[in-house]
């Protein structure tokens, strides 16, 4: 396959950045990241700076491979991270535009690499259980309804990739924050800190400068793990409960 790539190049956080056009050769069975690897080898051989992009597990669970491909976070396939996107999703001769995730709270570091530490700070604000519960109890002594366990697991599938922010017309981080609040609010272990957690995580989300959700649900469409906006409704409930019944 012969592909024309338009890639955002930016030397560093303060550089203004620009698009550059490259010709790349690819096989349909290559992953999108492998296609970029090959492009980078060519660039290195030519003595040029390779395209910087985040990647780690390459099996769809680490959430590193952040990029917007032809306007879609993680590319045009549903429920797919960029590393699991394959070149067979494109046609020979296609022109593909690759941009970094765009949000003030996730500034570009270099080329396609963005700083997602805002998510870490939202987690640090309350996305954990810190009450001392002693040694692990016998499993059957803390019953969890199946429905709650399923919903908590669905929320916990969030890999924190930031596609929800990238796809949101408002650059809001509500799908991420709500998934993290939901997973703990549904389980017994999360109950003691439930209210303080909701307030602290929402407050940190605001401090980071993310936008405000207007319920387009583009986040849910872009999420490679299929996190539902049911979680955003739950976060809103948790927030209101915490503010109204402290």
């Amino acid at each position: 396959m012969q592909i024309t790539l338009e890639i955002w190049r930016q030397k560093g956080p303060t550089d203004s950045g620009h698009f550059e056009t490259y010709q790349a050769k690819a096989e349909p069975d290559m992953s999108f990241l492998e296609m970029l690897d090959v492009l980078n080898e060519v660039l290195l051989a030519q003595g040029k700076e390779p395209v910087a992009f985040d990647h780690d597990c390459r099996e769809g669970i680490c959430g590193s491979c952040s990029m917007v491909i032809n306007g879609f976070a993680h590319g045009p396939e549903a429920l797919t991270t960029t590393c699991q996107l394959h070149m067979r999703s494109f046609q020979d001769g296609d022109r593909i535009t690759i941009e970094p995730f765009r949000a003030k709270a996730m500034p570009v570091q270099k080329d396609l690499v963005v700083d997602r530490s805002a998510f870490d700070r939202i987690m640090a604000a309350g996305g954990y259980v810190s009450v001392n519960t002693g040694a692990a109890p016998e499993a059957h002594s803390v019953p969890v309804p199946k429905e709650n366990a399923e919903q908590a697991m669905d929320a916990a599938a969030c890999i924190g990739c930031g596609a929800c922010v990238a796809a949101c017309p408002n650059a809001a981080a509500m799908l991420f924050t709500s998934a993290k609040i939901s997973q703990l609010s549904l389980l017994p272990q999360g109950q003691p800190e439930r209210k303080a957690r909701a307030l602290a995580m929402v407050s940190q989300m605001d401090k980071e400068g993310f936008g405000a959700c207007t319920n387009h649900y583009e986040c849910m469409g872009a999420c490679p793990k299929g996190i539902s906006v049911d979680n955003i409704a739950r976060m809103n409930r948790e927030y209101l409960r915490s503010e109204l019944l402290p």
């Binding site: 879609f72 765009r102 949000a103 387009h216 948790e238």
Partner: protein
């Protein structure tokens, strides 16, 4: 209490909650407004009698009007704050933007439809309420004033367009308000979405068809 309110209204979720509650209350107002307007289809006398009943409320009417104005301002100011926040949250635009198919025409045009409705609201208040309050000539027969305005070519255009804009605004706004208030469950979310469409189409057609019906001779037109 004031500190609490200030804190809640600083938060994006607090602001959205305020928009949702005020929006739903405004939907309630729009429904009563439409029901009142329907008297115009009966006769000018019925409409004037309805208007007089409202005037007879005296200080209660003033209170209701001030409350309504406050409700509109609250909804609009919160919308502006939330919009400004979101605009600054995406400081660099995408060169290529695509949709995963979730957003709708209604949801993507909320800000435009909201702003245009605000412009309409100002025209609408200047058209009738302001004239009545200032005792303009001809404002004693409110039914005639309204009839003449909304059946004139320009008036018809303004009022029918505004009705359709309201429909667009509600097609997203109504269900969105319930989501913001956390009222989402497989049991009733479908019903809320249906109700949202019924209200959006019902109110848009209701308001838009009144001038059309008047032109066709309803309410004993001249």
């Amino acid at each position: 209490m004031l500190n609490w309110l200030a804190r809640v209204l600083q938060s994006t979720l607090g602001r959205k909650t305020g928009m949702a509650i005020s929006g739903l209350l405004l939907v309630g107002f729009a429904i009563t407004h439409l029901l009142g307007n329907l008297t115009l289809l009966k006769s000018h006398e019925a409409f004037n009698a309805y208007a007089q009943k409202l005037e007879d409320l005296g200080p209660l009417l003033t209170l209701a009007e001030v409350g309504l104005l406050a409700l509109f301002l609250f909804h609009i100011v919160l919308a502006l704050l939330v919009t400004m926040r979101s605009k600054s949250a995406r400081d660099v635009a995408y060169r290529v933007s695509a949709s995963t198919g979730q957003k709708t025409i209604g949801s993507s045009t909320m800000r435009v439809s909201g702003l245009l409705l605000l412009v309409f609201l100002i025209i609408h208040i200047l058209d009738f309420r302001f004239k009545k309050l200032m005792g303009y000539e001809g404002s004693e027969d409110l039914a005639k004033l309204v009839h003449d305005r909304i059946t004139s070519p320009v008036g018809l255009g303004i009022y029918v367009t505004a009705a359709l804009l309201l429909g667009f605004h509600l097609s997203h706004g109504f269900k969105s308000a319930f989501q913001t208030l956390g009222l989402r469950h497989p049991k009733f979310t479908g019903t809320i979405q249906c109700l949202g469409w019924v209200l959006a189409i019902g109110l848009a057609l209701g308001f838009a068809l009144i001038p059309v019906a008047l032109l066709l001779g309803a309410g004993g037109a001249k």
